[in-house]
Amino acid sequence: MEAVTTARERLERAALAPVTGTSRWYYAWVAFLLMVIAWGVYAYSRQLHDGLIVTGMRDRISWGLYITTFVFFIGISHAGTLISAILRVSQARWRTPITRMAEFITVVALCCGALFVIIDLGRPDRVLNVIIYGRWQSPIIWDVLAITTYLTASIAYLFLPMIPDLALFRDRLAGRVAGWRIRLYDLLSVRWQGTAAQWRYMGGAITTAMILIIPIAVSVHTVVSWIFAMTLREPWNSTIFGAFFVAGAIFSGIATLIVVMAVLRKVYHLEEYITEKHFVYLGYLMAAFALIMIYGNISEYLTTGYKMEEGAEFHFRQLFLEQFAGFYWFYLIGGLVVPGLLILLPWTRNIWGIVAAALLVDAAMWVERYFIVVAGFRVPLMPYKPSVYAPTWVELSVMAAGFALFALLITLFVKVFPILAVWEVAEDLETPELAPEAGRLPSGAAPEPAGGGSR
């Protein structure tokens, strides 16, 4: 009993630490991010003033960095769905320390992604037309509906399991932090007292949300892929876009989660709760999805290339041999094969190797969206010379600001909200299981089954 209470106290302290103490590095990091965002806001103001002519997009290649980044962010928003929902449905106990981060990445990524669509509009002053005059038959409207539904569901799904932890904050932090925060925790913990009835309500709500959010998430990236697949352009006129994009989204979501997890674990000393086991399990999932992505690539390019319809020949030449070859082979080798190897080979299957793999995957998935958009546009539709797309400083600045905003929101979240799902981790600790052992797996050992109780 004594040992468990101490473990619980350590857990609570770990969860409360980020909220109570702020280091200088934190302020420096936030200041840096704010500077990047400010520069991006200036770049966007130039775009509002002069029009989209300040970007590199033109009639022939009319989408570029903005839509690429939009698709990328919506893609990584699938982190929360996979980790929280799918692993919760399958009752994988090892998920408990990372569910909160995963859910928050989802919410932040959705907000940043939606922002990029609005940035890409030629007339952002008319964005309300989408609501007033929206057509149900348009893929853009499907995007709007799916993303708002997913955002609402994700916020609900972030908030619900956080209620007991917010109650913990409310109880523990009185007098230790600013008054507005206590009021915030008080409000958000909706008078949680831990009664049996409240546990029942919350449990029912979480169950409903976790089952509902999986088809919503699948539909989100499917309809995002359909803004391409509902057109008649040669590289996009494919029926597998929906499935391919969903697989890619989950893939990049896992990678982003690994990266964020590694950073937060390091900064806030969560090594006791986020262990190598978590990285390895997520790594296995990532490797599985890498294989699915390789399968998707083979499916798409073999069936198109075997027939070589008009336009396919041009696209293959530009994608595999000429203008976009660097991008494609980096994506295939650096983003699918190498991370797969890093995870599957025992010598690199450690935290460093897996985080490196995740960084490669994130970069490669952004590159993949880039050549899907730009190379897709570049295939000529009529007899004219193909154009070239070169992003300008405005697009690069706004994109950097978008990533900085993503990082900033996570940074701020960590300051205000509990970074670990305390009650879930505690429940995991308290359940009598095998004797706790050191967090590091001996190399070469097979990983334990998901229900294992080692920390």
């Binding site: 609900a156 008078r191 007292q193 546990w199």
Partner: protein, 196 residues
């Protein structure tokens, strides 16, 4: 002198009679006749038959090109509109399919240009088209599959949002739940943060 004048007058009269215009055209080499109904309904296609016979002997002239014209105006241009050309068969009959679209009185001119002649032979077919105006041209785009439309999307969306709302309802229920009597500090703390 009197006889010469009479003969001249007679020649003029006979000559004029030979060239008199009428429903059929008399020329030195061929006569052209049109056979087609006089009353038509808009939207029903008819077969216009133009019969070409030689002037002497009246036998059929095969292999001749007959042109069918109407007068029309469109886009500020007025003039003859060529409805089509047809070649006479061994019976001297040229067929053209014609679909009247507009109600009212119309005329179709049938022309044959004898090789070597300067003036074409023209026959006119006047006809009356009746029938209320209705759109002839229908776009063939699209397939209607019953039930597969936006209402399905709306229904799915409404269902999802209703479920989300039920989740929100439970949150309110959490807030509204009556607190249990406090049994001692440690017990309630453990209940509040993890016992489920």
């Amino acid at each position: 002198m009197k006889y010469a004048v009479t003969a001249l007058l007679l020649a003029v009269v006979v000559g004029t009679a030979m060239f008199a215009p009428g429903g059929t055209a008399d020329a030195s080499h061929a006569t052209l006749k049109v056979m087609a109904p006089a009353n038509l309904t808009a939207g029903d296609s008819v077969d216009i038959q133009a019969v070409l016979n030689s002037a002497h002997g009246g036998e059929a002239v095969p292999g001749a090109t007959i042109s069918f014209y109407m007068d029309g105006s469109f886009g500020g241009v007025e003039g003859k509109v060529l409805l089509g050309q047809a070649i006479t068969d061994k019976d001297g009959v040229a067929h053209l399919s014609y679909l009247p679209r507009t109600a009212g009185e119309h005329q179709v001119h049938v022309e044959y240009l004898t090789p070597g002649e300067g003036e074409p032979e023209v026959a006119t077919w006047s006809h009356d088209v009746s029938g209320a105006p209705h759109q002839f041209y229908q776009s063939t785009a699209g397939v209607q599959i019953p039930g597969l439309n936006v209402w399905l999307l709306m229904a799915v969306l409404a269902a999802v949002w209703a479920i989300l709302l039920s989740v929100a309802v439970r949150v309110i229920a959490i807030a509204g739940a009556e607190p249990e009597p406090v049994a001692g500090a440690p017990a309630s703390r453990s209940r509040a943060t993890g016992d489920w």
